[in-house]
Amino acid sequence: MNDQAQRTISVRVRRQDRRGSAGYWQTFRIAHQPNMNVISLLQEIAARPVTVEGRHTAPVVYDSNCLENVCGSCSMVINGRARQACNTLVDALLAERPQVEIAPLSKFPVVRDLFVDRSRMFDALKKVRAWIPVDTYGPIGEGPVVAPEDAATRYDLSRCMTCGCCLEVCPQVNHRSEFIGPQAIGQAALFNLHPTGAMNSGPRLEALMEPGGISDCGNAQNCVKACPKQVPLTWAIGKVGRDTTLHAIRRWLMK
């Protein structure tokens, strides 16, 4: 509970010691400072890892790096919502409810405490061949001219920081499903929209026509709401959906 007189914040943290071991909760009491974010709460816990019961414990393990919502490391479930710990401000949380509750993302294996293993997202980038295959890194001249509107759309897609919030909120991503998730579909759209990338869009679309591909999307549209970078994920899913259909017809006609 947030006791304004003592100006302390109660922080409840989900902990897990190892991969596959049972989770448990611990609560810490942190002195309130102006402009605190969730990262600074975890930093305070690290500096003095003592629970409300007075038990000395290990600092909470969590993933973080840039602390300005651009690296995608510090995704967590904070007060029930998947978001970045760095740009989640404590005073705003306290306005919602008196206690701050922090848990790891639930759709990824926990490594320890709040630190999860998101390697499946990087594997997905391999699967959809998320790159422009250039001939050489040598100086062979300028790139293709791109219309400003196309560049702007590509920029919006390219801000995806592989944070995992879209997978976390997607009902189709779960332990019974192979669904690749919105992030990889957005990235396929990004590369298919580039003049060079468009020349090899086939393999990207085919990767998304396999089991676990785009047809597994249930159109819940949670992803676009949860995305901390406002990546137009549902637009990308719509676009890639149409393109895969066209690609299938074309393939059938070419048979």
């Binding site: 010691d17 500096a47 490391s73």
Partner: protein, 672 residues
């Protein structure tokens, strides 16, 4: 034949550029990084990347001008062959990035859009919104992933570099690293090693840098015999948002897109900034530096803001801050236009401060931002072009054979002060360059390379690091590593940033020794054997204190003002006279002192580790193309000084010198 193999440590722009270049030449790469490379600190770069481009070229710009701005902005402390080569390659690098699909902002015709950055009069910066670093990093990350799929690159993410493997002849034969989850320590033999591990902002506690930027990897190389150069040159960026956990950058692009810095003319004016009428606003940079305005080089803008706040002009009663104004009223530019160009930094401000930066001015203050200093690296000059021999294995190699460095972790490109939007360039350039240098180097690596590692070397070194870890895990003590780090940060920020004073620096060295001793007594609060971040942090704390000493002692020894290194005690007083003859005489005196200062201090600081502390030496800077000239942004009587200086050094390539000064003195007829 077995594929040659290079270890690249760090997967930011420099590490990825090196990796993709090596992989293109079918040289295998083990890429070792503490974070997934796509989350490296390069993502934080916002504003853009510099190159002479077709728009500036049409206005008379050239690669030479970019080279000149880089040398002048760095106050001539950067060796000229590497920076000339970098400026020459800049347009080609931007073309490559464009081909790799970076979503740069575009002009109406579909060309790359450009904007202006500090320290130049040309719009030389291309950009992708206000997250250019993120976009460039992703482009290179994608290319490296392509080679990962092909099996040429093996990634070791969440592995921490512990130290280089050095053989009996002093050559680097690989690295020792630790799995940050299982804590397994193992050796990675290699034909060569590239360090691309970035800057050391965390030495100053809070900075604009990411949490991995402790300088730990650099310190471990320094400890193993690599020379550390120009450590005392640390860039403090003029505009950041103060925060509880870090200081968040507001890019120079904000000023490049017409953002204006100001304070109310009256000290302590408590009105809301939007209520302060135009006549009562003090646009102090525009007033003092009419030529460059808000886009003076960073060190100068930082000192002006710092001094103003110290003199009571801060716009925040509790902290030091000034206004950075992007409202339409100040800039005359519509909200939608700025949103397209600066969206990312506007979001950062809104998310972390909670006010709309287009509705009212932002409150900003300087923050430690970039390490100009770093591992010393070599180069080989091309006598024909004045740039580099692109194929030479000397390029980017440290004094330890087989150990290379690139990106912010080397010292090479920025001299005493880095120009905005030159960092992304230098990181990619030096990464590509080291890739090319290694193509030659790995054909004949020292001692036969990875395949012929001396017996027992890997085992011995692995065991040594394991023993050090075990000792740390077991250590008892009363000190808390996190609190010690805060103390270190406060100490360094107070004494070794914007304004430096020898008495404070001496006291700081004493305090650092005390912190070092106390650091030996820091005990871990986590003694576990699985994903132990407490262990990693405490180890890095020792490294930060080691580098802090190099930075502080380098600053203490350097009795001059140059770029980011500012010691008022040694500032050459600006001319004061109104009478033209007297002004002339003062300008001559100024130039003589500047010449003496260059004779004494236009050199690279080199620190070598010894058990008793750093051993310092100095080497000359190669200024063979552009003779050093006074950096006179905003100095009173600048025109006269420049005129006198030109008279002192009549021919290009023949800088002043004592004889020149005598001749100039005689010509002007004034002798002090």
């Amino acid at each position: 034949m077995m594929r040659r193999r290079v270890v690249v440590v760090g997967g930011g722009l420099a590490g990825l550029a090196a990796t993709m270049k090596l992989a293109e030449d079918d040289i295998g790469v083990d890429l070792v990084s503490m974070v997934p490379v796509k989350r490296s600190h390069s993502v934080c770069a916002q504003g853009g990347i510099n190159c002479c481009n077709k728009f500036t070229r049409a206005q008379g710009d050239s690669e030479w001008n970019h080279f000149d701005d880089t040398a002048y902005g760095g106050e001539f402390l950067n060796n000229q062959p590497p920076i000339k080569e970098m400026a020459d390659w800049a347009p080609k690098i931007v073309d490559l990035l464009d081909r790799l699909g970076v979503p740069f902002n575009r002009s109406e015709e579909g060309n790359l859009a450009v904007r202006r950055f500090g320290g130049t009069l040309y719009k030389r910066t291309v950009y992708a919104g206000a997250s250019t670093g993120q976009q460039l990093l992703y482009a290179l990350d994608e290319q490296v992933r392509r080679f990962e799929v092909d099996g040429v690159v093996r990634k070791f993410e969440f592995w921490e570099f512990l130290g280089p493997l050095i053989d009996g002849q002093g050559a680097c034969r690989g690295v020792v690293a630790q799995d940050m989850f299982s804590l397994e320590i193992r050796a990675f033999p290699a034909d060569a090693v590239v360090m691309a591990t970035g800057g050391c902002g965390l030495v100053f506690g809070k900075s604009t840098m990411s949490m991995v930027c402790t300088g730990g990897a650099n310190a471990r190389c320094y400890r193993a015999g690599a020379h550390y150069a120009n450590g005392e040159f640390v860039q403090v960026h003029p505009t950041a948002i103060p925060g509880a956990d870090k200081l968040r950058l507001i890019s120079e692009a904000a000023r490049g897109e017409a953002g204006r810095v100001w304070v109310p003319r009256r000290q302590g004016d408590a009105r809301h900034p939007n209520d302060v009428p135009e006549a009562e606003r003090w646009y102090f940079l525009e007033e003092k530096y009419p030529k460059y305005g808000n886009l003076v080089p960073r060190d100068i803008a930082t000192r002006e803001i710092f001094a103003l706040c110290k003199n009571g002009y801060s716009v925040d009663p509790h902290n030091y801050a000034v206004y950075l104004d992007l409202t339409e009223r100040a800039t005359g530019i519509k909200r939608e236009v700025l949103h397209k160009k600066l969206g990312n930094i506007l979001e950062i401000y809104e998310q972390f401060v909670g006010t709309d930066p287009l509705g009212e001015p932002m409150k900003i203050f300087p923050a430690v931002h970039y390490s100009m200093g770093g591992l010393w690296v070599d180069y080989e000059k091309n006598h024909h072009t004045g740039g580099l021999n692109w194929d030479s294995p000397r390029n980017q190699q440290t004094n330890v054979p087989g150990l290379f460095a690139a990106g912010e972790c080397d010292y090479q490109y920025h001299g005493a002060n880095r120009l905005g939007a030159n960092a992304l360039l230098s990181c990619i350039f030096s990464g590509l360059l080291v890739g090319r240098a290694l193509r030659a180097f790995v054909q004949n690596p020292p001692g036969g390379g990875a395949a012929a590692l001396p017996a027992g070397l890997a085992e011995r070194e692995t065991a040594r690091h394991k023993a050090a870890m075990d000792a740390l895990l077991k250590r008892d003590g009363t000190e808390n590593p996190y609190l010690l780090h805060r103390e270190l940060g406060r100490l360094m920020t107070a004494n070794v940033t914007v304004v430096r004073d020898n008495r404070d620096l001496r006291a700081t060295l004493e305090r650092l020794e005390e912190l070092r001793e106390r650091g030996q007594r820091a005990a871990l609060s986590d003694r576990g054997d699985w994903t132990n971040q407490n262990l990693s942090f405490t180890r890095a704390l020792g490294d930060m204190i080691l580098l802090a000493r190099v930075i502080t002692e380098g600053a203490l020894r350097r009795d001059e003002c140059r770029g980011a290194h500012y010691k008022p005690e040694f500032e050459i007083p600006a001319p004061t006279a109104d009478d033209p003859a007297e002004l002339q005489r003062q300008a001559l005196e100024w130039c003589r002192r500047y010449q003496r200062q260059n004779d004494e201090w236009l050199k690279t600081t080199l620190a070598r580790w010894t058990p008793a502390g750093p051993e310092f030496s100095y080497e000359p800077v190669e200024c063979h193309l552009i003779p050093p000239r006074p950096r006179t942004y905003g100095v009173r009587g600048a025109e006269v000084i420049e005129q006198v200086w030109r008279a002192m050094s009549p021919a290009r390539g023949n800088p002043g010198g004592a004889a020149g000064a005598e001749a100039a003195g005689a010509a002007i007829g004034g002798r002090a």
